[in-house]
């Protein structure tokens, strides 16, 4: 397969040139703007005006108008012609002589002042298109001598030529090209580069110029194209390095030229066109009697012996589209990118994008997703082009229409995959990953709804896990379009999320409840019920909460009550009034208990009503458990512990109310003791504990609990009370072992000796008790007394000595206080004579010291460190 890169267009036909004179042949041509010059073997120069015309089918065409022809007056053919348009001269080589001809009149230019406008003995010459000399009115020329092994550099002026340099070559040169200082020469057996400025030379490669005609063409700055052995076209730069791979011509190549990005070559019967970008042969045109092929300022002109043609490049876009039509993606892209320099920037960018997109679709069609993705991405494809390959993915509201002319040939994925469902699936998977990647980029600006909706549909259809992520985050899915789709695929949970995202929480809840109740099937979440409850917890719509809490409580009170207990409160989420909740929970006793527990025990709401309510509920539960038979002892113990804990810890419930409820309940003595304790009826409480329950540890614990937030005197009082109860023995009429009570008293004393006032205790104890029995108590009491006594003695002594010290200080050094002197602590002056003196005789305000003592945390509870004696001094 090949590309059509050029079209061969006739420019000057045989008739126009030579009429019916059969022996006349074209020898050389030159084209300069619209002017075409043809040199013939009968020593004529013909001058044509070449006009570009568009033919009927839009094909390019040329119209040549003959202006003049002129016989040069010699007997040999015109061998070479070069225009020097700035000088209005043609440089002509004929019969081994180079001379100048006027471009308009074709008259030979007479030499200025004798013989200066002619060079004799010339085999060939070339013009430097990139001269180092920048004088616009002179042309630099390289000349090969026909007899000697030399190259000469001439400057050509309007009416004279001037030799500026002559170099000898190792062999006879036979072709030359010139760029800057660099001559590229074909010698008899090799090519070489010669710097005419420095004389440095560089051999390129061997070539037998006698066997095959060498070709030396300058194709760009310091780069030449050469015919190489084996019919190769070799590239070489001025350093003698090849930077491009060679192209492969035929052995009989006659001429070559570069018309970027192509190398055009001519042989006996064909024009071949290779790409310089990948070295491949792209086009072959048959061309008989080919003779000349040259590039004139970008225009490739060919001549047979009888006629002239122009090789017109087809528009690049046509070439690229041809390549794409043949699925030659790489070549199309290489050609596009290679043409970047020759196209205006914005036009190139648009073209490049489009080609990338087309390339992407071709690769997509071949399921080469990696490559396709890269091209879509680079080409900034409107992703809806891709989406539209799946019917119904775009929302009905989308305004998208496919690009025209179309980017691809596919009607839809089914067409693309020719019904192969496996392939369709692969395409969809690619689409999912691609949409997922682009949806957050600016590629989707202006079509986010289309993209997100399409993605949602694909996710739902393919049962893709990211569906929920899409809906739970920022998205632009179109609700109306998504609802039926999600319903179709039973994605009810997801649909609820979408409703929620669109502010339709009620619709979401209704749907989810139907799923939770088993009316609809969607296995997405096995914990949907919990999810709904949590959803209600966070809902800012109170009406919804009231509406659906009942459903939740009926389904599972323990989880359902979380609607109220786990409710997040914040600015935009109004809290529910607990009284309303309690009323609401009236018929859900279990939930109500949990709710109250939450209020009282967790949130620690300090309201009598709730505490009493909870205590009553606890009590009722205990009572109901007690009335069961058989009793569930474990449950009962737990329930009583809870009740007791609440009774002990809360100070808010109505004690009398509860006490009344427990009246005559012999099973609840412990609770009653606690309640009495709350009422500070400690004697009653202790009576119950000691005499009715005979539970001495509890009695002791009661004393500790009841005095826990009181001072030590109160605690002492209580312990004495308990001791008294023990020592008084069993009240009359109640059987009991008074020895047991005495033992309890002894234990109490020995265990809590520090609480008691030992003297009072000794007075209370019966005479007959043995010391041995009370030894721990007494020992501790004596030791404590001794300790206290000694400590106070030491303190006394210390204070005394400090006083002495201060007194001494004062007597030695008087302390001066004046209105000018400042207080050390606050730096204000003194205004009255009473001051406090710090150790060392430093006077300070009394209130400053007081302040300091108050502020110092370590000293707050101790005596002020500074012995503060007040001075009544005024000096």
């Amino acid at each position: 397969m090949s590309v059509k890169a050029f079209e061969l267009v006739p420019a000057v036909e045989r008739d126009l040139l030579m009429g019916d004179k059969a022996r006349i042949n074209i020898e050389c041509i030159e084209c300069c703007g619209k002017h075409l010059y043809v040199g013939t073997n009968d020593c004529f120069i013909h001058h044509f005006l070449l006009a570009e015309v568009a033919s009927s089918k839009g094909k390019p065409g040329y119209l040549a108008q003959k202006l003049l022809h002129k016989y040069l007056g010699l007997k040999k053919p015109v061998a070479e012609l070069r225009a020097a348009s700035a000088l209005e001269r043609l440089i002509v080589l004929c019969e081994g002589i180079v001379f100048l001809v006027d471009m308009v009149t074709l008259e030979t230019v007479p030499s200025a002042g004798g013989g200066g406008a002619k060079i004799r003995g010339v085999a060939s010459f070339c013009v430097n298109e990139n001269p180092v000399n920048t004088d616009p009115f002179c042309v630099e020329m390289g000349v090969l001598s026909s007899k000697r092994r030399t190259v000469q550099i001439y400057m050509v002026y309007e009416d004279r030529v001037q030799l500026v340099k002559e170099l000898t070559t190792p062999e006879q040169p036979c072709a030359v090209s010139l760029d800057g200082y660099f001559l590229c020469l074909a010698l008899t057996t090799q090519y070489m580069i010669l710097n005419y400025n420095t004389g440095a030379s560089q051999d390129l490669f061997p070539y037998n110029s006698e066997e095959r005609r060498p070709i030396v063409k300058r194709i760009g700055r310091e780069e030449f194209l050469l015919a190489a052995p084996g019919g190769l076209g070799m590239f070489a730069n001025a350093e003698g390095v090849s930077q491009r791979a060679p192209v492969r011509w035929s052995e009989s190549v006659i001429g070559a030229a570069v018309c970027f990005p192509y190398v055009v070559a001519l042989d006996e019967s064909f024009i071949t066109i290779h790409s310089m970008l990948d070295q491949q042969l792209k086009q072959t045109l048959s061309f008989r009697d080919g003779h000349i092929l040259q590039n004139f300022e970008g225009k490739v002109i060919l001549a047979s012996t009888k006629a002239v043609y122009v090789l017109v490049p087809l528009p690049l876009e046509r070439q690229i589209q041809d390549l794409l039509a043949n699925h030659r993606v790489e070549e199309a892209l290489i050609l596009t990118e290679g043409a970047q320099r020759n196209i205006p920037k914005d036009k190139f960018q648009n073209l490049h994008k489009r080609i990338l997109q087309q390339a992407g679709f071709i690769q997509f069609g071949q399921l080469q997703f990696l490559e396709a993705k890269e091209h879509f991405w680079k080409g900034q494809l409107d992703v809806r082009e891709l989406i539209s390959l799946c019917p119904l993915l775009l929302p009905a509201s989308s305004s998208f229409t496919r690009c025209h002319p179309p980017l691809h040939e596919f009607a839809d994925l089914n067409h693309l995959a020719q019904g192969d469902q496996e392939k369709v699936l692969q395409c969809k998977k690619f689409l999912i990953s691609y949409l997922g990647e682009v949806r957050s980029t600016e590629v989707v600006n202006g079509c986010r709804e289309d993209v997100d909706t399409a993605l949602l549909k694909l996710y739902a259809e393919q049962d893709h896990e990211s569906l929920l992520d899409l809906l739970a985050s920022d998205n632009a899915c179109v609700l109306a379009d998504s609802v039926p789709w999600l319903e179709k695929y039973h994605k009810y949970f997801a649909l609820g999320l979408l409703y929620h995202y669109n502010g339709q929480d009620s619709a979401a809840l209704q749907l989810w409840i139907r799923v939770a109740d088993g009316e609809l099937q969607d296995p997405t979440r096995s914990d949907l019920f919990e999810y709904i409850v949590d959803f209600l917890c966070t809902s800012s719509n109170v009406d919804l909460v009231w509406k659906y809490a009942d459903w939740a409580l009926r389904k599972d009170p323990i989880v359902g009550v979380r609607v109220f207990t786990k409710r997040h409160t914040s600015k935009d989420q109004p809290d529910l009034n607990p009284d309303d909740v309690i009323t609401y929970l009236g018929k859900h006793s279990q939930a109500l208990l949990l709710y109250l527990e939450n209020l009282v025990l967790e949130k620690r709401v300090q309201k009598e009503k709730f505490h009493t309510h909870l205590a009553v509920l606890y009590l009722e539960r205990v009572l109901s458990l007690m009335s069961q038979s058989p009793k569930d002892e474990e449950q009962l113990t737990k329930a009583r512990e809870r009740l007791q804990a609440l009774l002990r810890e809360s100070d808010l419930y109505r004690v009398q109310f509860l006490l009344a409820k427990m009246e005559n309940r012999e099973e609840l003595l412990l609770e009653r003791a606690t309640l009495h304790g709350k009422l500070e009826e400690h004697d009653k409480a202790l009576h119950i504990l000691v005499h009715q329950l005979r539970d001495f540890p509890s009695a002791e614990a009661f004393c500790l609990w009841a005095s826990s937030s009181r001072d030590s005197a109160y605690r002492q009082q209580l312990f004495h009370l308990l001791l008294g109860v023990y020592l008084d023995g069993s009240p009359p009429g109640q059987s009991g072992d008074s020895g047991e009570l005495e033992m309890a008293a002894v234990d109490l004393l020995n265990r809590h000796g520090e609480v008691f006032d030992a003297v009072r205790v000794l007075r209370m104890l019966p005479e007959g008790w043995s010391l041995q029995l009370l030894r721990p108590f007494l020992g501790r009491a004596i030791r404590a007394n001794m300790h206290a006594c000694r400590t106070s003695r030491i303190a006394l002594g210390l204070a005394h000595s400090e006083n002495l010290q201060l007194l001494h200080d004062r007597c030695k050094k008087p302390v001066f206080v004046s209105e000018k002197k400042g207080c050390h602590l606050c730096h204000n002056t003194f205004s009255e004579p009473s001051v406090v003196c710090l150790p060392g005789g430093v006077p300070v305000h009394t209130h400053c010291v007081a302040q300091r003592v108050r502020d110092s945390p370590t000293k707050r509870h101790t005596e002020p460190q500074f012995p503060s004696w007040t001075l009544q001094l005024w000096s």
Binding site: T198, F205, G240, S242, R248
Partner: protein, 260 residues
């Protein structure tokens, strides 16, 4: 005429040389495209650009055919590394390296690195035959050599080998021959053996068919030419060629130093 655009400019050049049919093109295909495919005898030459880290390395595949021999010097001009390739089943292909190809490398850089590569190892060596992953690194080369030792006194090369799966061909070139040649190459270049890269490091046996040692070969060379890239970059920095005039000057200077 529009200025001909050059592709990404390579930082350094590596050239593959060797007689026709030794497998140069196949080696490059194997490395660049990770597969072994049918080739036609190369015409002229071809080159590939390999991105190696931040650098572009151009690798030139040359034609082994006699007809294109003259182009070799030009391809080698300025090369930082030359891979001299022979076919382990063809004694003559090793001999040709010395007779025909070595002189082409005269135009290469002065510090050019030379690697000797015996390809088609899969035909003589069971290890190379199996090795599909070329990261399997060099197994034990010395051990391999003992196994594949050719009985001495049989120097006549047989007709061109055809590869029959499973049938081992006789190895005509053993690694020691390559090592000896490597020594001679150093001498030809006027290099001290001591200060040059050791033969053990620079003589490879590969198989383009199975991929045996192919990555190792190219990547060893890439790493070895890195200093050359850095030096070239530094030189370019020292003489920034912005001005066209100056550009020519630089070019001409290089031209001169290149040829004497």
């Amino acid at each position: 005429m529009p200025e001909v655009s050059k592709m990404k400019k390579p930082d350094v050049k590596i050239v593959l040389l060797g007689d026709m049919n030794v497998g140069k093109t196949s080696l490059l295909h194997r490395y660049m495209e990770r597969k072994f495919k049918e080739t036609v005898s190369t015409v002229g030459g071809a080159f590939f650009l390999k991105q190696w880290g931040p650098y572009n390395i151009s690798i030139w595949d040359t034609a082994g055919r006699e007809q294109f021999h003259g182009l070799g010097s030009m391809y080698c001009r300025g090369a930082a590394a030359v891979i001299l390739t022979y076919d382990v089943t063809n004694w003559q292909s090793l001999a040709e390296l010395e007779e025909r190809f070595l002189s082409l490398t005269d135009t290469a850089n002065h510090d050019c690195i030379y690697a000797l590569v015996g390809n088609k190892a899969d035909l003589t060596d069971s290890k190379a035959q199996l090795c599909q992953d070329s990261d399997g690194l060099v197994k034990d080369r010395t051990e391999c050599n003992e196994e594949c030792e050719v009985p001495s006194g049989c120097p006549t090369p047989p007709a061109s080998p055809t590869s029959l799966p499973g049938v081992m061909l006789r190895k005509q070139v053993i690694n020691e021959d390559a090592v000896t040649l490597y020594g001679r190459i150093l001498r030809y270049k006027g290099l001290e053996e001591k200060s040059s890269l050791p033969a053990e490091k620079m003589c490879f046996e590969t198989s383009a068919k199975t991929g045996y040692n192919v990555d190792t070969l190219f990547e060893t060379l890439f790493d070895l030419v890195l200093p050359s890239i850095l030096r070239k970059r530094q030189e370019n920095q020292q003489s920034p060629t912005v001005d066209l005039e100056e550009c020519r000057m630089v070019g001409s200077k290089k031209g001169r130093s290149g040829c004497c």
